[in-house]
């Protein structure tokens, strides 16, 4: 069986004024289904850029990214948006919950793009919130939650559509030690119990230890 994610000769550079700044150089990487991979590296090494490319929120300058046999580097913006909705769950460092929506409404948000009925959406959102242990905080707004609880709500939002891959950009970067531990345990559980493929970017070696496999990136190269 081919790897779930295949990254082939991917390079990425940005234009800063009239200068081309290379960020990733000929990256080749395979991620198997059910894997929990941590990407580590210093600031500016290109790890978040690689994560964004895999998540389909940015496009490579050259090379191919195939996720479950779909070459996402060839998809249009509209097709890519639809693909993300169906296949990717994203967990951000700063949670990025919508402040005017309750925890339940935030989790329900990605389901609005699906043909599910209100009843089905409710069931799925409640299940996701139960998995992350926030069943009793459904009606709370983000400002009424702690950092750890906000991140758990963000994880519930990421898993509610049952995506192929869950991607975390420094998911514990803004949390205290205990909360970070809770989040890592939750992610580990998603991987082991629910067989989810996880890919996280982290600075924290302790967080990386929880992954099955750790890759290091430096100055745009996998090392």
């Amino acid at each position: 069986m081919p790897p779930l994610i295949q990254i082939q000769d991917v390079s990425k550079s940005y234009m800063r004024d009239s200068f081309e700044v290379p960020v990733l150089n000929n990256i080749n990487l395979d991620i198997e289904e059910g894997e929990f991979m941590a990407l580590m590296g210093p600031s500016g090494s290109g790890k978040t850029t690689l994560l964004n490319l895999i998540a389909g929120i940015d496009k490579p300058s050259s090379g191919k990214i195939k996720v479950s046999d779909t070459d996402i580097s060839q998809l249009s913006e509209t097709a890519l948006a639809k693909w993300r909705a169906n296949n990717i769950g994203f967990v951000f460092q700063f949670y990025n919950l919508i402040p005017v929506l309750t925890a339940y409404e935030n989790v329900e948000l990605p389901l609005l793009l699906t043909p599910l009925s209100k009843k089905e959406r409710k069931k799925q959102a409640e299940t996701a919130l139960e998995i992350v242990g926030l069943a009793d905080r459904m009606k709370h707004y983000p400002k009424q939650l702690s950092g750890g609880q906000e991140q758990r709500a963000a994880i519930a939002r990421a898993i509610v559509t049952d995506p192929l891959v869950i991607i975390g950009d420094e998911p514990t970067g803004d949390l205290d030690k205990n909360s970070a531990e809770e989040i890592l345990t939750l992610m580990e559980r998603l991987n082991k119990e629910f067989k989810k493929t996880l890919l996280i970017v982290t600075h924290d070696p302790h967080a990386a230890e929880r992954a099955n496999i750790t890759k290091h990136i430096d100055k745009g190269d996998l090392v």
């Binding site: 964004n52 929120i57 948006a81 993300r84 909705a85 169906n86 990025n96 005017v100 948000l109 793009l113």
Partner: protein, 386 residues
């Protein structure tokens, strides 16, 4: 939860800002409606003009008189149904700053040619019988608390001296488009006195009002009338009542144009105000839009979200403005003397224009924020520091 709920929640995120913007739109709609109503009030005479009436005046200028002897000649022109005439008397009643039209007319024909001024047969008969009688409009009667049998004394200026009249009738308006501020009295009464006071002005009338049999023949009948008096000492210019009124209004055209312009400037200003609100809101939510895009929300979703919020605010503002406009126009109409604006009604077209403007404001104000939200790349959205 639906997108509508998110639109509502986003709109109420900054309650004070939203409230102030709604108030701003409401005030703009009210100002727009008031200005447009003043403009339409100015044009009311034109709107009320009848298609089957022509006005024959002195070709050189409206202010020069025509001979009384033209009356029968005009009446004999092919296509003419009836002829009456009027003379601008002006004068002062109580206060020289209080203006209303005072006209010396032909009592036998004036109410036949102007059926929109409704008088009872008894009032009409008494008016025709008594040379010093007058008939006034219901608005003037209400304004000065006058009743049938009361005396009215005018201080003449064009026709010097004191002129005493007895009110023998109060005409009713056929509908809201009719001016209820007129005062009409016998031309004979003025003419007789001119024989003593100023004989050179005897037999002069201001203009003729010609009722024609077929409105489609107005151009032909006008030409026939004017041809009758070619090369005479008082050549005529005949035109439809509408054209005559338009010519009269033309002297105020710059004021009306300025008011029209101002009404649309107000809409432009409020467009900028709402646009600014939407740009601020959109800018504050740059990261949220990036999150939504990451979750799979596409251009149509973000467009509906931003446009929906803009339309929601403009609908509330426009609705509030229109809701308040009705009583304000009514109140304004009651406070402002009837002789300033004899017809002061909120026209349907004003309501449609005000509502359309509110909708337009909502759409235009959303364009830039939508463009910005769509064009901002997800990665740039996450890097944004507001």
């Amino acid at each position: 939860m639906k997108i509508l709920k998110l639109i509502l929640k986003n709109s109420l995120r900054h309650k004070l800002r939203t409230f102030l913007t709604i108030c701003g739109i409401a005030i703009a709609v009210i100002a727009f409606g008031m200005l447009r109503t003043v403009v339409t009030a100015w044009y009311a005479g034109i709107e009320a003009s009848a298609a089957d009436r022509l006005i024959t005046r002195q070709a050189v200028s409206f202010i020069f008189p025509l001979p009384y002897t033209y009356k029968d000649k005009i009446a004999n022109v092919e296509g003419v149904d009836q002829v009456t005439f009027a003379t601008w008397f002006q004068g002062v009643y109580i206060d020289k700053n209080q203006f209303f039209p005072r006209l010396a007319v032909d009592p036998e024909t004036i109410f036949d040619v102007y059926p929109e001024w409704i008088v009872t047969p008894e009032e009409k008969a008494t008016f025709q019988r008594e040379r010093n009688s007058c008939i006034i409009g219901e608005d003037i009667a209400a304004m000065y608390n006058l009743e049938v049998g009361d005396a009215m004394t005018l201080e003449g200026d064009i026709y010097p001296g004191d002129w005493q009249f007895i009110i023998r009738g109060i005409y009713k308006k056929r509908d809201q488009t009719v001016d209820g501020t007129g005062m009409f009295f016998h031309w004979d009464y003025i003419n007789e006195r001119m024989k003593v006071d100023d004989p050179i002005r005897v037999g002069e009338v201001g203009w003729y009002i010609v009722k024609i049999k077929d409105p489609n023949q107005s151009a032909e009948v006008s030409r026939r009338i004017d041809e009758l008096f070619l090369n005479s000492s008082a050549e005529t210019k005949t035109e439809t009542e509408r054209a005559f009124q338009q010519g009269f209004i033309a002297s105020f055209s710059s004021i009306i144009t300025a008011m029209n312009f101002m009404s649309f400037v107000i809409i432009g200003i409020i467009m900028l105000v709402l646009g600014n609100t939407m740009i601020m809101s959109s800018r504050e939510r740059t990261r949220e839009y990036a999150v939504m895009k990451t979750l799979g929300f596409s251009t149509p979703h973000l467009t509906s979200l931003i446009l929906g919020e803009s339309m929601f605010i403009s609908f509330l503002g426009g609705g509030l403005g229109l809701f308040l406009l009705f009583p304000l126009i009514e109140g304004f109409g009651m406070v402002v003397p009837k002789n300033w604006f004899p017809i002061f009604n909120l026209e349907e077209i004003t309501i449609v224009l005000a509502a359309s403007s509110a909708i337009l404001v909502g759409i235009v104000a959303a364009i830039f924020p939508i463009q910005k939200a769509i064009r901002t790349k997800i990665v740039d959205g996450f890097r944004f520091v507001g």
